[in-house]
Symmetry: C2
Subunit: 290 residues, 2 copies
């Protein structure tokens, strides 16, 4: 069973509206006058950790990326649960975990600590729990034809960071310790028609927003802020790990936080995405280039 088939089957089980068809960054569940926002991510050695990445950075990234999912919902984090498989570098993991939780002032509520068999690739899990600060909670699916498409900041910084990590030259921080834009997400939540964080690459994630919203999204490449030199613009548009917020606003509306207008939503056409008027699909150039 491949990943797509597995997720399709999982979607058949996750029929509760709070699951949002497993097509959003988070589950969203009303509870006692509040709205819970829940997300869980796993990180596996050999798959998600770059060579040379310390477990302190891994713990940081695990927490920050889950908090970024909450940010895309305008949610305030209320705590995390950590699943940890013991092994080398546990002290580093703890130091990174303590640092990132202190940085975001998020409490560690619980979790599980397990042993794997000798030599096992280690897996770490993190569940982040938040409360919505604005209802309805933004989804990927709300963009309407005519809306403008906005991005909070540059893409490509994590790509340069990973190259720095691999070569030992330059600053790898943008890749190792991403920033969860919690304040921006909260400020944006009451205004946006759709919102998500850009984790897998701007073009791929914009195409997901387009499909979820049943629109086509048109992006003007030159308007996208990039952290790279100009010749690498098209790579920067396809790399992930920057965790900027991508959102749509009704035409003419200005965002309440600094952001860049990079395109618009159009009536749904054959492809989910137009880049400088060129149609792109998942099989023709959206992809994550890792």
């Amino acid at each position: 069973m491949d990943e797509a088939a597995f997720i399709a089957a999982l979607r058949g089980i996750a029929t509760h509206p709070a699951a949002r068809g497993l097509a959003d960054d988070c589950a969203v569940l009303p509870l006692g006058g509040e709205t819970l926002v829940l997300t869980h991510d796993m990180l596996v050695e050999g798959t998600h950790l770059a060579p040379g990445q310390s477990l302190a950075d891994a713990a940081w990234k695990l927490v920050a990326t889950n908090l970024s999912d909450l940010a895309a919902k305008g949610a305030q984090p209320i705590g995390v649960l950590v699943g940890h498989m013991l092994g080398d570098g546990d002290g580093e993991f703890l130091a990174g975990l303590a640092a990132v939780l202190a940085h975001y002032a998020v409490p560690l509520l619980g979790g599980d600590t397990v042993r794997g068999p000798a030599g096992a690739a280690r897996a770490f899990g993190l569940t982040a729990i938040g409360r919505a600060t604005h209802v309805p909670v933004p989804a990927r699916s709300g963009a309407r034809p005519g809306d403008a498409l906005w991005l909070t900041g540059p893409v490509g910084a994590a790509m340069l960071g990973l190259e720095a990590l691999r070569t030992g030259n330059g600053d790898a921080t943008a890749y190792l310790r991403p920033v969860a834009l919690l304040n921006a997400g909260r400020a944006l939540a009451p205004h946006v028609t759709a919102m998500m964080d850009v984790s897998d690459g701007l073009l791929l994630d914009a195409a997901r927003m387009a499909r979820a919203s049943a629109v086509t999204i048109a992006i003007t490449a030159a308007q996208v802020p990039i952290a790279t030199p100009e010749p690498r613009r098209h790579e920067a548009l396809r790399w992930g790990d920057d965790y900027q917020l991508l959102f749509t606003l009704p035409p003419g509306q200005e965002p309440p936080v600094p952001a860049h207008r990079i395109g618009a939503a159009l009536p749904q056409a054959e492809t989910p995405l137009l880049l400088d008027t060129i149609p792109l699909t998942e099989t023709t150039g959206l992809g994550y280039q890792h």
Copy 2:
């Protein structure tokens, strides 16, 4: 860093009261007129899965054991998040997951699906989210000297089930598909002074309750209901995986559900546990015999 040192360090980070010092089955967090009850467990191939255990049974057990943690809080489950590492038997995992969620009428809200490196021992994570049905939420720490100690049902059935699985003779269901006593937990929550589920063995878990409550617990071996033949009584008291509820009530109070009185809480003595008046500690015979 060994497991005890890791958890001690983690406890130093988990200072929020909702974390209950990482000494309880769940985190307990007030939210908007409700009280959230949260738990996360991981299950790792090669550590937690018996040879011959299908992934359908693994998925069942992963969900049921987390729901058992909620049961011990008298909580009503409101959903789960699943972390899944892809590999052989994914179809079985999905079937078991669908079956256990339907059995308990608990929605799948979300999660994460990842690939491990080739040949990796797979890890699965589950977060269960519940709402308390009674506040204050029962803890392990509330037993008082003079309280009676009760157990909802027999221990030892999972031990026999694991033996059946290993030998191919007999019924392994009690080991493979434990029952989360959600209704009993809800009925008990308003009455108990302390409650927990018995996951690691009656004696070991009773000693944990005693330490958390700063009492000594005295158990009369002959009063403990067992699922095994009589000669194996002392094994049954030490094996885990039965997920009965262990709780204390003020003296003279009858429980609202069928249960067996197996002992009492006494003023704290040198050891946490007396078995037929013989003092036991973690190093002298409480242990989990797997």
